[in-house]
């Protein structure tokens, strides 16, 4: 059955796009929201100066939060924990999953540094009780402890844990928890908008042939394949 989709040329499409009115301040707000949520304090302050856009939260609180995030990203988990507790002692006391992940990261860092004895001690003293207190953590705990078993952990089935991306994951989790405790939304708006764009294009694909944005980072319109 031949598709009877409407065909929209590049010219027509661009004309339609140009007809959509956007407000500059909406875009500024989006950018500020992104900078603030991701914690780019200096950029946010500069952007505020240059564009006059007001940040939605006090930039000073961002500094504290960023210090925590940075500490985790650099593998200084114990330092990060102390900073979070200074900021708000309730966060870790009421977020068992986050606390477990931080402890887990600590163990990973000890293993990475080759401090096997200390790692074992830490696993037994700090992580084992978490597993006892909450069965949901047992599986992850076992995976982490498995790092100790392998001669060459970085080539083991659990090597993902040693990856830097795991630090980033933990850092992101802490960041989100702090934002929530400050009643701020933990996700910036920008990604949601982009997801909406992709969804809308998928929906429209069923009815029309038109120029797509395939590369989100450039936003370039590409002619549809023939």
């Amino acid at each position: 059955k031949a598709t009877s989709k409407k065909v929209i040329t590049r010219e027509e499409w661009e004309k339609k796009l140009n007809a959509v009115k956007l407000r500059k301040q909406d875009m500024n707000t989006l950018v500020m929201n992104f900078l603030v949520t991701e914690g780019y304090v200096d950029a946010a302050a500069k952007f505020q100066r240059e564009s006059g856009t007001k940040p939605e939260i006090d930039l000073a609180t961002i500094t504290d939060r960023m210090a925590v995030k940075k500490a985790v990203q650099n593998g200084h988990v114990e330092d990060a924990i102390e900073k979070v507790n200074d900021l708000n002692p309730e966060i870790l006391d009421t977020n068992p999953e986050l606390f477990f992940h931080l402890q887990q990261q600590r163990l990973i860092e000890l293993i990475r540094q080759g401090k096997t004895e200390e790692a074992l001690e830490f696993a037994q003293e700090e992580l084992a009780p978490r597993g006892e207190e909450n069965q949901a953590f047992l599986q992850e705990l076992e995976k982490t402890v498995a790092l100790l078993v392998f001669e060459d952990a970085s080539n083991s089935p659990v090597k993902d844990l040693l990856d830097i991306s795991h630090r980033l994951k933990t850092a992101s989790e802490v960041n989100a928890a702090i934002l929530t405790s400050q009643s701020h939304e933990k996700d910036p708006k920008l990604p949601s908008l982009l997801k909406m764009l992709i969804w809308a294009q998928n929906q429209l694909d069923e009815k029309a042939v038109y120029p797509h944005i395939n590369d989100l980072s450039t936003g370039q319109l590409e002619d549809p394949p023939e």
């Binding site: 924990i81 102390e82 507790n85 002692p89 309730e90 870790l92 006391d93 009421t94 977020n95 068992p96 606390f99 004895e117 074992l120 001690e121 037994q124 003293e125 700090e126 009780p129 006892e132 207190e133 069965q135 949901a136 402890v145 100790l148 078993v149 929530t180 405790s181 400050q182 009643s183 939304e185």
Partner: protein
């Protein structure tokens, strides 16, 4: 664990950590403020999030040490760290709360709220809030004026932690209607609703405290709904769609409270429906919100057939069963809530029961009977009780096999009386299974256990045990009745029907009614030990009993009067004992009762007494006429109760 480790390494790990803890503990007592501060920070950072450490530091005696540090110092950093440490001990950890309160540091924490240093205020407010979330929190006397002033000063504070503390105190310490009244009159609702527009933690504290103030208090609810023409009720309803699950939960619980107190504000079916579905969604939340959502749901649909239907149509049963089947360890509170919700769903709707029973749930339910938490066991029993109301499934033998019966019967010995009462309720329904000629229950020595429980200290247990026996003896054959008689003789039975609690007496008489029903030999029981039981029944009937008891008593007489000449005469003796200077003609009173069942039972007795087939019928008829009974009957030709009319005609 890896094989490279040895046991000595484990013990050295344990002892070195123990040493570290002892070391930091000793530094807490240091006179050097720098050292002390560092030690406080260390302890705080070790215990936050770590229940195990909280326990071990607790055992070392850390709490009193930290409390002294707090009390003896004026240095802000020490105040902040020690307050934070104490707050952490109290966070979700009952032993910690106890220790903090025992250390007598509560007043000092209160004084921190007036500090000029914002961080000190924050630390103090947080710790106090943790304490007030516990059941052990000191009672807050709302009726004292200065306490009210203080409370309002908290609510008025700009500091989010402080106003949250105010709301928390209300949420957890307000208990009685009087307190609710006093708070409302002082304007607490107006203060609390401001927090609805505040930060996340303020909103949540507000919702919790609103629920407490409004609970079961129609006046308070009406006051709340009246604020700005219902604006805040709408706000709370809106919050059920909030992004944060805990906010959705707390606003739902608030609405459940309002609905249970004053349903008229929820005429709109849409609101009821979305409340049910939101709670159902929240059931899937793995954290505390999910636990509380389950209890909230059971509270919402309790006794409300329309909401049960809504929930059923929204696939509640399948959802709940899926959660129960996930196999992971569920929090006892959540289990209790889920089972209670299922029980409520099955309470009136046969579709629910069939649906539930078709989902292979019995194993899960049976396991719950063995759960170590009494509330869970109770909830599971209630679930059984309601599911067993399904005659179809009952007669299919679903409940009467060993697999189900044995654990149920074992619960008759449960240390918790609420479990006992609940299992008795379940058994009462299950023993009504007429299709099985033999009863597993009886084989397990059930009768003996029921008789044991009929002598319990708990009147609810006595009542439920007798109800179960009553059901067991309904249309029972002599063999089954014998099992009862072998354990309970006339004297023993008399104490059952003379119980101080009227509800227990009623069940006892109902049991007697079933015992003497059936063949003529059954009647002999009331004549044992020179008619002890019959005399007791007669005496009770003459004492102006409550309607329900009278009904059962008269049915006993009806059954006795259906027997031989001797039996009928004995009944007459009880109705009109001689000599009676003043005739306490309770029969007449009963015939004029508002309760149609009582009128009916009395008429039945009379019918049996004057049934023409027996020799002494005529004499008895004469006697009854003399006492004014027959004329009364003639007046009742057009009795509103059809039953009575029919009997009368015959």
């Amino acid at each position: 664990m890896p094989t490279t480790t040895s046991s000595s390494s484990f013990s050295s790990a344990a002892s070195s950590s123990g040493n570290r803890q002892a070391d930091v503990f000793s530094r807490l007592a240091s006179s050097d403020p720098e050292v002390k501060l560092k030690a406080l920070r260390e302890v705080k950072n070790q215990i936050i999030g770590n229940r195990t450490k909280k326990l071990s530091f607790l055992k070392l005696g850390a709490v009193p040490a930290i409390a002294s540090a707090l009390s003896d110092s004026e240095c802000n950093s020490i105040l902040v760290q020690s307050a934070a440490a104490l707050g952490s001990f109290a966070c979700g950890f009952e032993a910690g709360v106890q220790a903090v309160l025992d250390a007598g540091v509560f007043p000092r924490l209160l004084r921190l709220l007036t500090s000029s240093d914002e961080k000190v205020v924050d630390a103090g407010a947080r710790s106090l809030r943790m304490i007030f979330q516990s059941n052990q929190a000191p009672k807050y006397d709302f009726l004292q004026e200065k306490n009210m002033e203080f409370l309002f000063s908290l609510l008025n504070s700009e500091n989010e932690n402080v106003s949250g503390l105010g709301a928390s105190i209300i949420a957890h310490a307000c208990g009685t209607t009087v307190e609710q009244q006093v708070l409302c009159e002082a304007g607490v609702l107006e203060k609390l609703v401001i927090l609805l527009d505040g930060s996340l933690s303020q909103r949540e504290a507000c919702l919790e405290s609103l629920a407490t103030v409004l609970k079961n208090n129609p006046e308070a609810v009406s006051r709340f709904v009246g604020l700005e023409a219902g604006r805040y009720l709408s706000s709370v309803t809106e919050l059920t769609k909030d992004r944060y699950p805990r906010t959705r939960l707390l606003s739902c619980l608030c609405l459940v409270v309002i609905y249970n107190t004053s349903p008229s504000y929820f005429l709109n079916m849409g609101t009821k429906s979305s409340l049910v579905t939101t709670l159902l969604e929240l059931l899937n939340d793995p954290g505390q919100s999910g636990d509380e959502a389950a209890l909230g749901l059971s509270s919402l649909i309790a006794e409300k057939e329309d909401l049960q239907k809504l929930a059923y149509e929204a696939n509640a049963i399948k959802n709940i069963v899926d959660i129960l089947k996930t196999g992971s360890e569920l929090h006892p509170k959540r289990l209790q809530g889920l089972f209670l919700s299922l029980a409520e769903l099955c309470s009136k709707l046969e579709d629910c029961r069939c649906s539930f029973l078709s989902l292979e749930m019995l194993d899960l339910l049976v396991n719950a009977l063995r759960h170590n938490n009494a509330d869970v066991r109770t909830a599971a029993c209630i679930c059984f009780r309601n599911a067993a109301r399904s005659v179809k499934n009952l007669s299919a033998g679903r409940f009467t096999n060993d697999h189900v019966m044995l654990p149920l019967v074992q619960l008759l010995h449960d240390p918790s009386s609420s479990v006992q009462v609940a299992v008795l309720g379940a058994l009462s329904n299950i023993v009504l299974d007429f299709s099985s000629p033999k009863s597993t229950f009886i084989e397990y020595g059930g009768i003996k256990q029921l008789i044991e429980l009929s002598k319990s200290m708990d009147p609810n247990a006595r009542c439920s045990a007798l109800r179960a026996l009553r059901n067991l003896m309904f249309l029972a054959d002599n063999k089954r009745k014998e099992l009862f008689y072998s354990e309970v003789k006339a004297q023993g039975f008399v104490s059952l029907i003379s119980d101080p609690e009227p509800t227990v007496q009623e069940q006892g008489l109902a049991l007697l009614r079933n015992l003497v029903d059936g063949c003529i030999n059954s009647i002999e029981f009331v004549f044992d030990e020179e008619g002890l039981i019959l005399d007791t029944v007669g005496r009770q009937l003459r004492k102006s009993p409550q309607a329900q008891m009278a009904i059962q008593g008269m049915y006993v007489l009806t059954n006795v009067a259906s027997g031989t000449e001797l039996h009928k005469e004995a009944v007459m003796q009880q109705l009109f004992p001689q000599p009676q200077a003043e005739s306490n003609n309770f029969m007449l009173k009963f015939l004029q009762s508002h309760e149609s069942q009582l009128r009916s039972a009395t008429v039945w007795t009379i019918i049996n007494l004057i049934s023409p087939s027996s020799p002494g019928a005529l004499d008895r008829h004469v006697k009854l006429r003399e006492e004014g009974i027959i004329p009364q009957l003639k007046n009742m030709v057009n009795d509103s109760c059809l039953d009575v009319k029919v009997h009368k005609r015959s």
